[in-house]
C-alpha cells in the first residue's frame, strides 16, 4: 500500500510544476544577446575575459543610445567546455531567453559539434575564439560566422615566418587533441609550399602531450633528443606555462632552436609567466593590445585597463568585437530580424580594435590579419611585449574561399 501513495504525491508535484512552469516572456523591447563561453572549471579564465569584454562593449553601446535606439541586454551561459552542455545552453538562450544573436564558443570541439544544430534555431552565431577550420569549412551554414583568426590563418603566418628563418628541420610539441594535430598538419602543408626542401620529423619523433599533462620533461627530452632546427609549439594556457618554465629549466630555449609558439602572446600566459617568459621567442596571437594605435584600439585598451586592471586578452577583444559586429550588421540591415542580420553579416566590413575585418560571404570566415611578434622586455609593461611586431595581411594567410569545402548554396 505504500507505493501508490507516493506515486500520487509525485504526480501531484509534477502537475503543480507544469502549471507553474514559466511561460517565456513575450515582450521584446531590448536587443538580447546570448553569450556562451567556458565560465566555470579549469578553463574559466577564457570565459571570464570574454564576459568582461562583452560587458564593456554593451555598456558603451547602451550609453550611446543602444542599437537602433534599443538598449542591449546580455545573457551569459556556461558551456563548461563540453559539447552537450553547450548545446543545452544555446537552446536555453534561443528558446527560453529569446536572444537575437549568439556569441561565443571557446573550444574547437564544442564549436564543431554545436554548429550543425544552429540552423534548426535559425539564430545567427558569431564565433570569437574556437579556431577549427571546419565551422567555416565543411560544416558551414547560413547562420554561422567567425570574426576571429582560424587555425589556417594563424599557422599560415607561422609557416611564412618559418620560411624566412634559417631552420631546415622542423618538429612540434602540441596538445594531444585535434587542435594540436591540425596545427602540425597545416604547418607542414604551408611550409612545404613556401620551402619545398624543409624537413619534418616523422610522427614518432614529434611530441603530443595529453591536455592533463603537468610534467612536460619527457616531451622536452624527446624534442631535444631529435635535435630539430625549429619547433612549432601549439600548446596553450596552463599547458604552455608549464612547458615554458620546464623547458627553460632544461635549457631548451638556450639550445639555439627556432621556436614558434602559435598562442604564446595570450595575455593570461604572459601575465602568469611575467619575466620568466624567455625573450626573443616568436609568439602568435589572435589580437595584440599594442598591435595598432587606431583611435578605436587605444580607446578599448584604455577603457578595459581602467575597468579591469589588466590589458585586454584576445578573448576579451573577441567578445567586445562581436558585439560591435552585431551592431554594425543591425545598422546595415536596419533591423534585428534574425534572417536580415544573417544576410547583413555576410560580406560585412567592420572596424574593430583588432583592425578592419570582412566577413567573407562565401564561407563566413573573417578576413582578418594574423599577428606574430618576438617577446621582449620593456620596463613600461608588467609583461613581455612584442618587438618586432609583424602583421600578416588577411589576403596572404587566408585560404581561398573555394578551397575551404564550404558550400552555402
Amino acid at each position: 500500500m505504500r507505493k501508490p501513495r507516493l506515486s500520487w504525491i509525485l504526480v501531484a508535484f509534477l502537475l503543480a510544476g507544469l502549471l507553474a512552469a514559466p511561460v517565456s516572456a513575450l515582450a521584446e523591447k531590448p536587443v538580447k544577446m546570448g553569450f556562451v563561453y567556458i565560465m566555470s572549471g579549469p578553463f574559466s579564465t577564457y570565459g571570464q575575459f570574454a564576459k568582461q569584454g562583452a560587458q564593456l562593449a554593451i555598456d558603451e553601446i547602451n550609453a550611446q543610445g543602444g542599437i537602433l535606439g534599443r538598449q542591449v541586454e546580455a545573457y551569459f551561459e556556461d558551456s563548461t567546455g563540453k559539447a552537450d552542455v553547450a548545446v543545452r545552453a544555446i537552446r536555453k538562450l534561443v528558446y527560453q531567453n529569446g536572444v537575437d544573436v549568439l556569441i561565443g564558443l571557446d573550444s574547437s570541439g564544442v564549436a564543431k559539434t554545436v554548429v550543425p544544430t544552429i540552423p534548426e534555431m535559425k539564430t545567427p552565431l558569431i564565433i570569437t575564439h574556437a579556431a577549427t577550420p571546419d565551422v567555416t569549412g565543411s560544416l558551414c551554414n547560413k547562420y554561422t560566422f567567425r570574426i576571429s583568426v582560424n587555425i589556417n590563418q594563424n599557422i599560415k603566418a607561422a609557416a611564412l615566418l618559418a620560411a624566412e628563418s634559417q631552420a631546415q628541420t622542423w618538429s612540434t610539441i602540441g596538445p594531444d587533441y585535434a587542435f594540436g594535430h591540425q596545427s602540425w598538419e597545416y604547418f607542414k602543408k604551408y611550409l612545404k609550399e613556401k620551402k619545398p626542401d624543409a624537413v619534418f620529423l616523422p610522427d614518432d619523433k614529434v611530441a603530443f602531450a595529453p591536455i592533463k599533462t603537468t610534467d612536460f620533461s619527457a616531451y622536452i627530452t624527446k624534442l631535444m633528443e631529435s635535435k630539430p632546427d625549429g619547433v612549432l609549439v601549439s600548446l596553450w594556457g596552463g599547458n604552455l606555462i608549464d612547458f615554458v618554465r620546464q623547458a627553460d629549466a632544461m635549457g631548451f630555449f638556450q639550445s639555439g632552436t627556432q621556436v614558434l609558439m602559435t598562442l604564446g602572446a595570450a595575455t593570461e600566459v604572459l601575465y602568469a609567466l611575467g619575466d620568466k617568459m624567455p625573450e626573443g621567442i616568436w609568439v602568435g596571437t589572435r589580437y595584440w593590445f599594442l598591435g595598432n594605435d587606431t583611435p578605436q584600439n587605444v580607446a578599448f585598451r584604455k577603457a578595459y585597463q581602467k575597468r579591469f586592471g589588466q590589458f585586454p586578452s584576445y578573448n576579451a577583444q573577441g567578445a567586445y568585437a562581436a558585439v560591435l559586429t552585431y551592431k554594425a550588421a543591425a545598422e546595415k540591415a536596419k533591423s534585428t530580424d534574425k534572417e536580415a542580420i544573417a544576410a547583413a553579416l555576410a560580406g560585412l566590413t567592420v572596424t574593430l580594435p583588432v583592425g578592419t575585418i570582412t566577413l567573407r560571404p562565401e564561407d563566413h570566415q573573417a578576413l582578418t590579419d594574423a599577428f606574430w611578434g618576438r617577446t621582449a622586455a620593456d620596463s613600461a609593461y608588467p609583461i613581455r611585449i612584442l618587438k618586432p611586431f609583424k602583421v600578416f595581411p588577411a589576403q596572404d594567410v587566408t585560404p581561398p574561399a573555394d578551397t575551404t569545402g564550404c558550400n552555402l548554396r
Binding site: 579549469p42 594531444d176 620533461s217 631535444m224 618554465r245
Partner: protein, 286 residues
C-alpha cells in the same frame, strides 16, 4: 643511453611527486577505510595555500611549513564535521561524500583565487640547473626525486618506532580492540586524516614551483593517485612508493614508445594489475 638516463630521471621525479600525493591517500585508506576523492583538492589547496604564504612573507620555506599545516587543520575540521558520520557505511557513500567535497573545494578555490594561472618560483637554493650529459637538468627536479623517499622514510620511521605510530597501526588493524585498550579512536582518526591531508598539501606545495598553479590541479592528479594506490595495494606504504615509481616511469618512457596509446597507459596498468593480482602489488589479503 643518454636519452634513457634523462627519461629515467624524468620518470623518477614525476613518480616521486605522485608518491607524495598517493602516500597520504593510502594512509587514510589503511586506517580509516575511506578512499578520499577530495585528496587531489587538498593537493591543490596545498599549492594555493603555500603560494599565498610565500607571497605574504616572501619565503618559499615558510610557505612550505605553514601552508600545508593550515590545510591539514581544514582537513581535520572536515573529518570531524562530515566524514566521521559515514564510517560505518558502504564504501560508495564515502566515495560520494568526498566527491561532493571535491566539488565544493574546487569551486571554492576558483572563487577565492580566481581562474587565472599562477606561477611560484623555486627557492634560490634550488633554482638553476646542472649539467647532465649534454643536457642541463633543473636542480629542483632532483630535489623532488630526493624529497619523496626522504619523506617516505620519515613516515616509515614514525609508524615503526614512535608511540603514536604504533597506536595508529594498532587502530588500523582492529578498531574495536584498540578502543578496548583505551585508545581514543575518533581522535586518532582525525589526526590520521590530518596527516593525510598534510601529505597531499605538502605534495601541492612542492609541485607549485614545478608546474603552474591553477584550478585544475587537483582534478589532474586524483585519478592517477587512485591508480597508484590501487596498483600498489590499498593501505600499503611500500606499495604506494613502488606504484608511483612504476606509473612515473611508464608515463615518461611512454612518450617514446606508446604513440597514441599514451593516454591509456595508466588505465592499462590499473586493469592489468587488478586482473592478475587484485589486492595490488603489496596489498594484504582482504
Amino acid at each position: 643511453m643518454e636519452a634513457f638516463a634523462v627519461n629515467l630521471l624524468n620518470g623518477c621525479s614525476w613518480g616521486m611527486l605522485l608518491f607524495l600525493i598517493a602516500v597520504g591517500l593510502t594512509t587514510v585508506f589503511g586506517v580509516l577505510g575511506v578512499l578520499n576523492f577530495a585528496h587531489g583538492s587538498f593537493f591543490m589547496l596545498g599549492a594555493y595555500g603555500s603560494m599565498q604564504i610565500m607571497h605574504l612573507f616572501n619565503s618559499f620555506w615558510l610557505g612550505l611549513l605553514v601552508g600545508p599545516a593550515l590545510i591539514a587543520l581544514l582537513g581535520m575540521a572536515l573529518e570531524m564535521g562530515l566524514l566521521r558520520r559515514v564510517y560505518g557505511r558502504d564504501v560508495s557513500y564515502q566515495l560520494l561524500l568526498t566527491f561532493a567535497l571535491l566539488l565544493v573545494l574546487d569551486d571554492a578555490v576558483r572563487i577565492i583565487w580566481g581562474p587565472a594561472y599562477h606561477v611560484v618560483e623555486a627557492p634560490p637554493l634550488l633554482a638553476g640547473s646542472f649539467a647532465f650529459f649534454t643536457h642541463s637538468y633543473p636542480v629542483y627536479r632532483l630535489f623532488l626525486v630526493a624529497a619523496g623517499p626522504l619523506l617516505g622514510l620519515c613516515l616509515w620511521a614514525f609508524f615503526r618506532f614512535t608511540h603514536w605510530g604504533k597506536i595508529i597501526r594498532a587502530a588500523a588493524m582492529d578498531r574495536d580492540m584498540a578502543e578496548g585498550v583505551g585508545i581514543r579512536v575518533p581522535l586518532l582518526f582525525t589526526l590520521v586524516f590530518g596527516l593525510g591531508t598534510w601529505l597531499a598539501a605538502v605534495g601541492g606545495a612542492l609541485a607549485a614551483p614545478h608546474q603552474s598553479v591553477g584550478p585544475s590541479m587537483g582534478e589532474r592528479v586524483i585519478i592517477e593517485s587512485f591508480i597508484v594506490v590501487v596498483v600498489g595495494g590499498l593501505g600499503s606504504f611500500p606499495g604506494a612508493f613502488v606504484g608511483a615509481l612504476i606509473l612515473g616511469l611508464i608515463e615518461s618512457f611512454g612518450t617514446v614508445f606508446a604513440g597514441r596509446a599514451q593516454m591509456a597507459l595508466p588505465y592499462i596498468l590499473l586493469a592489468v594489475v587488478l586482473l592478475l593480482r587484485p589486492r595490488g602489488l603489496f596489498g594484504r589479503e582482504a
